[in-house]
């Protein structure tokens, strides 16, 4: 009896594996064929559910991707017929016939034309990340239709109820339908901003995995790995876009430090104290290679490339002391020019403190405090406390570290700050 349950669980994982590999291509192809993203996503999901029921019972078909596509396509066509029964048949019959021919002609003949599929998947990526959608919907939709994650997986990753994820997807599909968005790659004029929106979604997914904003989990490597997979997919779809490679570089370089970011007791370890031999050096190589690809396109460095270059400076240094902090200061100055933000200013101040001493850094931090831009941000008093501590101003340092601990929602970060305050 345990055997039967195991077999069912194993088949389920197999269906999920096929889905993860195929879903983007299935939804993308269907959307082009039937011209309706919402319907395409619905019928693809229904085919997935059918597979969960039928494959454990009847066995996994020899070509599972083709099976899913064919079933989804049939469902799309059945739906169209049902709708048309309600419509004026005479008005739609010609269109229905030509659409049926299109449907019949295209989805059965696997293997698919790779270039056509790539174009469709790229359209799908742009649709899922369309600026008309709220950020949470873009994220849920991208993970679901491009990444092939199930609603349950997404809800686990973001620690929200399944119904919340479902709502985000349903609402997003409604918004897309209501706006009648064309299924296309944006025109040259808006390509840059639309690609930026796509890359930003991937970046946010990674950040969610990299550092949980609240709760006991310091990081969720699965979600970060998923974001890296998405970045690789997008990099392959738009190989001439430096920002796509630069984002991948940044994510690989950041993720290379995962193993060193917590100690044996699960406590977070700050960059300067990390055991650098625990960094994933293959991943560092992949990140540097991606940054080199971005640079080789010869269109200068954007925000992702600059951040990747900063991460690279850390990655290639043997220790905090031997890090080229002056280079990092320069990179932060360039980053401030492109994306001015108080958080970048704070990081710049930290780099200045490392390059030129804590007093120089403190001066910049104090200017930030005076501006009021980061009030309520726990790292501002956190950094100020660190710098004061290094300058021997212990009482002030302790007060700042305690203030930082009170502001953070991350329990482990709070513990570290409290311990540092005690040590002052």
């Amino acid at each position: 009896m345990g055997g039967a349950a195991d077999a069912a669980a194993s088949t389920r994982r197999q269906v999920e594996a096929v889905w993860r590999i195929e879903s983007a291509r299935i939804v993308a192809t269907l959307t082009r064929l039937i011209g309706d993203f919402g319907v395409a996503e619905d019928v693809a999901q229904e085919a997935f559910v059918d597979a969960l029921v039928q494959w454990p019972r009847d066995g996994v078909p020899p070509n599972p991707g083709a099976w899913l596509t064919t079933v989804a396509k049939r469902k799309a066509f059945d739906r169209r017929r049902r709708v048309e029964r309600l419509d004026d048949r005479h008005a739609t019959i010609a269109r229905s016939l030509s659409e049926q021919q299109r449907l019949d002609a295209s989805a059965d003949d696997l293997p698919w034309d790779p270039d056509q599929v790539d174009d469709d998947v790229l359209r799908l990526v742009f649709t899922a990340c369309h600026p008309i959608l709220p950020r949470e919907s873009q994220i849920a939709l991208t993970l679901r239709v491009v990444g092939g994650l199930t609603t349950e997986e997404i809800s686990r990753a973001f620690m929200v109820p399944v119904s919340t994820v479902q709502q985000r997807v349903v609402r997003a599909k409604r918004t897309i339908a209501a706006a009648d968005l064309p299924f296309e790659v944006p025109s040259r004029g808006e390509f840059g901003t639309r690609l930026a929106s796509v890359l930003n979604v991937v970046y946010l997914i990674f950040n969610e995995g990299y550092a949980a904003t609240s709760g006991p989990s310091w990081m969720r490597t699965d979600l970060a790995a998923e974001a890296i997979r998405l970045a690789r997919i997008i990099g392959a779809l738009v190989p001439d876009e430096p920002d796509a490679h630069a984002l991948l570089a940044l994510l690989e370089l950041q993720a290379s430090r995962f193993a060193a970011r917590v100690d044996a007791h699960g406590e977070p370890v700050m960059l300067a104290d990390q055991d650098r031999s625990r960094w994933d050096h293959h991943q560092i190589q992949r990140g540097r290679a991606a940054l080199a690809r971005a640079d080789a396109l010869g269109r200068g460095r954007g925000a992702y490339a600059l951040q990747a270059a900063i991460a690279e400076s850390h990655a290639i240094a043997g220790s905090a002391d031997t890090t080229d902090w002056h280079r990092i200061v320069t990179l932060y100055e360039a980053l401030r020019g492109i994306t001015p933000s108080p958080v970048v200013d704070l990081n710049h101040a930290v780099a200045v403190a490392m390059a030129d001493g804590p007093a120089a850094g403190l001066e910049l931090v104090d200017a930030l405090v005076a501006s009021g831009a980061l009030s309520g941000y726990p790292l501002l008093p956190g950094v100020r406390g660190e710098l004061l501590s290094r300058l021997g101003r212990r009482d002030e340092a302790r007060a700042e570290l305690l203030a930082a601990a009170a502001l953070t929602g991350n329990e482990q970060q709070k513990a570290v700050l409290l311990r540092k305050a005690e040590e002052c």
């Binding site: 590999i21 997979r229 625990r278 050096h281 560092i284 690809r293």
Partner: protein, 142 residues
């Protein structure tokens, strides 16, 4: 998780007269491209014929070196891929898509992570350092 897909071919496998290498190269190229586009490929290599290799046998001391292929082998390793997937089943799905024919096999093995071993062991500690040196000493590919 990382998995190694190890390609194995029978020793006595002979190629038919009209064997089309271009077709194989194209099929493998398309497969590799699909792995890259899916964001799962980390690396891989094809191996030169076993006749160019040699075997080091540790039955005696010092070990005996003989020209390849290994006389008792029934199958030869001919290449490998390393892929990164979220489950074993996903690795199996990718393996099944490899354009290989009857007689050949893919053995799929999970790549161990160094974190799985006794972290207090002196050589495990050293291995981190070795990995660091190996990692940073290699040139970055553009």
């Amino acid at each position: 998780m990382k998995y190694m897909l190890i390609m194995r071919t029978p020793v006595e496998m002979t190629l038919p007269e009209d064997f089309d290498f271009t077709e194989i190269i194209n099929a493998m190229g398309a497969y590799n491209e699909s792995l890259i586009k899916a964001g799962v490929l980390l690396g891989g290599e094809g191996l030169a014929p076993a006749e160019e290799g040699f075997v080091v046998d540790f039955d005696s001391t010092p070990p005996i070196v003989t020209d390849g292929p290994y006389a008792e082998a029934k199958e030869l390793f001919t290449g490998f891929w390393i892929i990164q997937t979220s489950t074993k089943e996903e690795a199996a799905e990718w393996a099944k898509r490899c354009p290989l024919g009857p007689g050949t096999r893919l053995e799929v093995r999970r790549v161990t992570e160094i974190e799985e071993f006794d972290q207090d062991n002196e050589y495990i500690q050293k291995e981190y350092e070795w990995r660091e040196q190996l990692g940073t000493d290699q040139p970055v590919q553009g």
